[in-house]
């Protein structure tokens, strides 16, 4: 008996230590306060065609990453590849088809306002008071009705007939019309703070965001808090590259801009020599808030930039038009830094770095052209 007691004591101690350390950890992570879309509705801005185009361009889609090997496609073993002989025209058609598919894969999860609680009493029947001690739930399972329009009502023991709230609606919808991958019970990775933080620390952002898309509706508070914490964590660690070429980059950029915290992203773009994308980001801010000093200029520049190919694709073959456009961009960003930036000194330093790098590029391409006998 004694030995059992002695054995138990140290174990308990270890347990308490573990829980304490985890508390400390969770405390550290709780410093990220999720900010939700709860006062103004972001949907009209997000779905406007200009913003959508800007967000898609900022995603910088790279087809080899869009069509990367995924482990959530339900393929448990690899398949033997198939081969085809194609003419030029057929190849073009196939690539066009693939681009369409890429568009589909890159479709952004919607950004909408958080829903309001439903509290709508349909009728009160005092005659039914005490009929039964439990609630009755009624679901209209007619085929072809959309989940959000389905009639789901509850009859309380006090005889009140009311529309169900969102959580009950979601549960019943999932029971009668199960969505593949969604669980009735919340997955542990979302309900357990420690596990969620572990995922964040291991940079499994895409996994979190993908799973959140399946598990929650976009107007659920839980979805918005999960995505908000993830976006802020990415912003803190500056791991934007992980989300590039995925469908989550757009909503993240939108979130950061909406909540006035896109300075880190701007810095990353400037340091990565993506000056045109920086202008697009300014234009996006002008669309959302309308507080950029040279907003009109940014819009005009964005219109010029959008038809040109991606900047990183051809770094060492600059035409005169490219140089002109880039110089305009630099001027625009200068004004932006003066007027709107919250990290002025860092932004200016990055811009100076870009100027020097760009001057080298210009010299190189002009020298090359001269060497090849151009004017």
């Amino acid at each position: 008996m004694m030995s059992v007691l002695i054995n138990k004591l140290p174990r308990n101690n270890i347990k308490t230590i573990i829980t304490r350390s985890s508390e400390i950890q969770s405390c550290r992570h709780l410093s990220i306060v999720p900010s939700l879309y709860d006062d103004k509705d972001p949907a009209p801005t997000f779905f406007s065609s200009q913003v959508q185009i800007l967000l898609k361009r900022l995603t910088r889609p790279d087809l080899s990453k869009v069509f990367r090997k995924r482990c959530n496609t339900g393929l448990f073993v690899l398949r033997t590849p198939t081969y085809k002989f194609l003419t030029d025209k057929e190849l073009e058609a196939e690539i066009a088809k693939a681009n369409e598919k890429a568009e589909q894969l890159l479709q952004m999860p919607p950004v909408v306002k958080m829903h309001q609680t439903i509290n709508e009493v349909l009728s009160e029947d005092p005659a039914l008071i005490g009929y039964d001690s439990c609630k009755y739930l009624f679901t209209d399972i007619t085929y072809g009705v959309k989940n959000e329009h389905r009639i789901i009502v509850e009859r309380d023991p006090d005889g009140v007939l009311r529309n169900c709230d969102h959580d009950i609606r979601k549960r019943l919808n999932q029971t009668y019309f199960p969505m593949n991958g969604r669980k009735i019970k919340e997955p542990i990775m979302f309900s357990d703070k420690d596990r969620f933080n572990d995922l964040l620390d291991n940079s499994k952002y895409e996994f979190i965001l993908d799973r959140a898309c399946i598990q929650y509706e976009p107007d659920e508070p839980k979805y918005q808090s999960v995505t908000s914490i993830t976006y802020q964590h990415i912003d803190l660690k500056k791991c934007y590259e992980i989300l590039r070429s995925t469908r989550h980059f757009g909503p993240m950029t939108f979130y950061l801009t909406w909540h006035q915290s896109m300075d880190n992203l701007m810095l990353e773009l400037l340091q990565g020599n993506a000056i045109r994308e920086a202008v697009l980001l300014t234009s996006l801010r002008q669309h959302i808030h309308g507080d950029v000093i040279n907003g009109g200029e940014a819009h005009n520049l964005a219109q010029q930039i959008l038809p040109t190919p991606k900047q990183s694709e051809k770094p060492e073959n600059l035409t005169e038009e490219d140089i002109q456009l880039d110089n305009k961009c630099v001027e625009c960003i200068e004004k932006f830094i003066v007027g709107n930036s919250a990290m002025k000194s860092q932004h200016e330093l990055a811009l100076q770095g870009f100027r020097e790098h760009y001057q080298q590029l210009i010299d190189l391409s002009r020298g090359l052209r001269k060497a090849h006998g151009g004017v």
């Binding site: 069509f67 690899l78 590849p81 081969y83 085809k84 003419t87 025209k89 190849l91 690539i95």
Partner: protein, 428 residues
């Protein structure tokens, strides 16, 4: 007749009475009291010859018989040491002999010669010991050294070919594919035995070759074959570092082989000789079906010819003057251009009857016969329908159990809480 029997009894009686009396009154010493006058012949076949000669007479096989294979395999008699496990002084009758099988004085008592109760297990133990001697013990190989079957040579590794001058075969390994004895008639010597060996050697990075060697002795034949293989190395390109470039059909004599390229992780599903060749070359994933004759030498030759006749993707694209595009399921069937020719034909330039299907083209318009799959014999029977109906309601139980275990750590439902006595009963 009767008188004769009496006479016989008279002869037998004295000796038998001597024995019984001796047994009954063994405490009384009566030396030289009963003397048998009948003569006993102690010399016979068994104690005249030594054990060695006796055993030889049983186990030996005539020269002609040995040639026919007699005295080998099952039913073969093996020499046993019958003295093993036997001790002087201990025998069939369990006697105590002071000074031989026991001490003369035990404590203060002087031990006397006496008969003890019989040990019934003694003979059984002896037989068991003798049986264990005769059991055939194989020379054991470790599983790594072992070849295709038992401790026979085919499939076993015999190391790299011998260095030529100062050039060593680094990273090479040789596998035996075949080792067999051939009988040749010679005018002066008559029928003589030769060994023939076929081996494949390779470095696992595209270089490989095979060789055949003949000799009077098996090891010499193997060595000769190995060194010949080292002299005849060929280089093969490996597609993406794991498979062949395309499916192909190849034949040698009556042997036909259909080879298919496969995805990563598929493994080598083919004839064991082809598997060894692939491992020597460095091919990791492939499927091959051998049809017709399965003469091993023909299989090896056919496979090597097929590998040599492969065309790379760039060559195929140039031949066809069309883009070669790859589609992979894991990449959502994204069209990846693998090879492009210098000039591409348009749709109008392609004749109507040209084969454009990739597999059909690389197989030279040969089509593999795919056998129809018949339903299992039980699937047409009425009891199978009954089984399906009966077990339909259980079809998701396994999944549910797994989910419950992950959620609660045990199989549990709302009913377990309502009826706790059921749980207590099952636990007890």
């Amino acid at each position: 007749m009767f008188s004769k029997f009496l006479a016989f009894k008279r002869v037998v009686q004295p000796s038998s009475s001597l024995l019984t009396r001796c047994l009954n009154n063994n405490n009384i010493v009566h030396n030289l009291k009963f003397i048998s006058t009948s003569s006993v012949y102690c010399v016979n076949f068994f104690n005249k010859l030594p054990a060695e000669k006796l055993w030889k007479s049983v186990t030996s096989v005539s020269n002609a018989g040995a040639k026919k294979g007699r005295g080998r395999g099952a039913g073969r008699i093996r020499i046993r040491d019958l003295n093993r496990g036997q001790v002087i002084g201990v025998g069939k009758i369990n006697m105590l002999w002071p000074g031989l099988s026991a001490p003369v004085i035990r404590g203060r008592e002087l031990l006397k010669q006496q008969r003890l109760p019989d040990d019934s297990e003694r003979m059984e133990k002896l037989i068991k010991l003798r049986d264990s001697m005769t059991k055939f013990r194989r020379l054991k190989l470790t599983p790594i050294e072992r070849g295709w079957s038992g401790n026979r040579m085919p499939g076993r590794s015999i190391g790299p070919p011998d260095p030529i001058g100062e050039d060593e075969f680094v990273g090479f390994d040789t596998k035996v594919l075949q080792l067999r004895s051939l009988l040749i008639m010679k005018g002066s010597l008559g029928r003589t035995k030769n060994y023939q060996a076929m081996v494949v050697t390779g470095n696992g990075q595209g270089l490989a070759g095979f060789g055949i060697g003949r000799s009077k002795e098996a090891p010499a034949a193997l060595r000769r074959a190995k060194n010949r293989a080292g002299q005849k190395l060929m280089h093969f390109e490996i597609c993406n570092g794991h498979t062949i470039f395309h499916d192909f059909y190849t034949a040698f004599g009556k042997t036909k082989i259909f080879v298919q390229m496969k995805n990563e992780g598929y493994g080598l599903k083919c004839h064991r000789a082809i598997k060894e060749i692939c491992q020597a070359i460095g091919i990791k994933d492939l499927r091959a079906k051998v049809e017709g004759s399965n003469n091993l030498q023909h299989i090896v030759k056919a496979f090597f010819i097929g590998l040599l006749q492969q065309r790379t993707h760039q060559q195929l694209a140039e031949e066809k003057k069309l883009h070669l595009v790859e589609y992979r399921a894991e990449n959502e069937y994204y069209p990846k251009v693998i090879a492009s020719p210098k000039e591409v034909r348009t749709k109008e330039e392609i004749p109507k009857d040209e084969t454009l299907d990739f597999i059909q083209y690389v197989m030279n318009d040969k089509v593999i016969l795919k056998k129809k799959k018949f339903p299992r014999f039980y699937e047409t029977m009425p009891h199978y329908q009954i089984y399906l109906k009966k077990y339909e309601k259980y079809r998701n139980h396994e999944k549910i159990r797994l989910n419950l275990k992950t959620e609660y750590g045990e199989v549990k439902s709302f009913l377990t809480e309502r009826y706790p006595e059921e749980k207590a009963e099952s636990e007890s």
